[in-house]
């Protein structure tokens, strides 16, 4: 077990957004989280890498107690994250976006960092764009650079929060392909997405979240063909009909 979430609760002001989440993730597992807008999917991902603190419960990531403020900062060594808005550093080239943390956090030499960065960029098919600034890249290319930036840090777990939602439809495929390749290689992944195709063919397990609760979970074929919970049925009906 590489991620263990135990009875996690989280409120923003008076609103309880996570209402007792339990989740265990095995090494190499690909988990897709689905659910309506505002159900708490992003918040759940963000508690796992300490972007949000939790009110109660425990979160263990490969031995790190993320719920413990003293230990929590260590989680960034093990967990990479990809955001909906890419969040690339606009003042740096693709290469520098990747090398920055390699140099400042991993203390690599310039040559070493560039070598690792170029390997990561090659992996997402963007080695020849290393010298481009983010605004000189398409949305799909920017998101692939963001993935390379996270991968270069050699994380054990990757979090994707609607990584394709900000992309034009024709650019979604190039990003999901990179994500599929990553899953194939055995990366442990937690993926929030509206791409049901990706969920069907890549997920080991699909979680349906509703109002801060994991209402149902299971293999994709089970969730998509025979959901047992009425709310899951409703949600899938809406999404798959659309």
């Amino acid at each position: 077990m590489i991620v263990d979430v135990k009875d996690v609760r989280k409120s923003f002001g008076d609103v309880e957004v996570l209402k007792g989440i339990d989740l265990s993730v095995e090494k190499g597992e690909v988990i897709v989280i689905i659910g309506a807008s505002g159900s708490g999917k992003s918040t759940l991902l963000r508690t796992i890498n300490n972007l949000e603190t939790i009110d109660s419960g425990e979160i263990w990531v490969d031995g790190t107690a993320v719920h413990d403020p003293k230990a929590a900062h260590n989680v960034h060594r093990d967990v990479g994250m990809v955001f909906q808005q890419f969040n690339l550093f606009p003042h740096l080239t693709a290469l520098k976006n990747v090398t920055l943390a390699l140099r400042r956090v991993k203390r690599m030499s310039k040559d070493e960092a560039e070598k690792v960065a170029m390997e990561a960029l090659a992996k997402v098919g963007l080695a020849e764009k290393a010298g481009n600034y983010p605004q000189q890249l398409s949305g799909g290319q920017q998101q692939r650079v963001a993935i390379a930036r996270a991968l270069a840090m050699a994380p054990k777990i990757m979090l994707f929060d609607e990584a394709t939602s900000a992309l034009d439809p024709e650019l979604v495929g190039e990003v999901t392909k990179v994500m599929r390749d990553l899953a194939q290689e055995g990366m442990t992944m937690l993926v929030v997405t509206h791409e049901m195709g990706f969920a069907r063919d890549t997920a080991d397990r699909v979680l349906f979240v509703d109002s801060g609760v994991i209402v149902e979970q299971g293999a994709p074929e089970q969730i998509f063909t025979a959901p047992s919970n009425p709310r899951t049925q409703q949600f899938l009906h809406r999404v798959l009909e659309a």
Binding site: R77, F83, N87, H91, R104, V105, Y133, A150
Partner: protein, 237 residues
């Protein structure tokens, strides 16, 4: 013309104006960055110091600030020459305005940038210097250059503490020649040239320093009107 005999004096006045402006601006920039960081820090004494400094300076006349340092400090045993006193006063003054400009710029950096940095494991210092500051610098560059111009113009106040910068020189030439109009017109043109050189240099630098190149369009228009004005003065259209 009699005034033109004093042209070398105007040039040395221009030199004093230029060096005073540059030194004041450089010091003001450092003060401004430090104050902006103070005001954003979570440490309340620093926040209070920053806030009081900015409020005091922005709500009192620059001239009184200059007088306080030049005429006031000697009474507690600190004697500063006019140039040094003037530079210190203008640096303290400009620092307060720059602090507010820089603070606004830092606020404009999207929260996603901080989150990306945190996710990569970057510490606070690295995040500030490698992620936040370079982006804020781009946002604040135009207003910072504008503040630099304001500092250049404010150096004329230093003529009141008997510094022979450009305005001071014009005052002296006026009292020697009584050609008031010409004496001050020469100073005016030299100020105009200085501020426009700064604008052009800043626009040039902005196009090279930032990615994508930063265009200071207003400065360019400003430059064009000067060119027109000079052509007219030279007897052109």
């Amino acid at each position: 013309m009699e005034v033109l005999a004093y042209f070398p004096d105007y040039l040395s006045g221009l030199w004093i104006t230029t060096t005073a402006s540059l030194l004041s601006f450089a010091a003001a920039l450092v003060l401004g960055v430090i104050t902006a960081v103070f005001r954003r820090s979570g440490i309340w004494p620093l926040k209070v110091i920053g806030a009081v400094y900015v409020e005091v300076i922005r709500n009192t006349p620059s001239l009184v600030q200059i007088f306080l340092i030049f005429f006031g400090l000697p009474s507690i045993g600190i004697h500063l020459p006019a140039f040094e006193a003037g530079v210190i006063a203008l640096a303290i003054n400009g620092g307060a305005y720059l602090a507010e400009i820089i603070r606004a710029g830092l606020t404009k950096v999207p929260s996603g940038q901080f989150e990306a940095a945190r996710t990569l494991g970057l510490g606070r210092t690295d995040t500030f210097f490698h992620v936040v500051f370079p982006q804020a610098a781009r946002y604040v560059y135009p207003p910072v250059i504008n503040e630099f111009i304001q500092i250049i113009l404010a150096t004329s106040l230093l003529s009141t503490v008997a510094l022979n910068e450009l305005t001071g020189t014009a005052l002296v030439v006026n009292s020697l020649t009584f050609q008031t109009l010409v004496a001050f017109a020469v100073a005016l043109v030299l100020y105009l040239i200085l501020t426009n050189v700064v604008s052009f240099a800043a626009a040039w630098l902005g196009r090279r320093m930032f990615h994508p190149p930063l265009q200071l369009r207003q400065e360019r228009q400003h430059g064009k009107t000067l060119l027109k004005r000079l052509t007219i003065m030279a007897g052109g259209r």
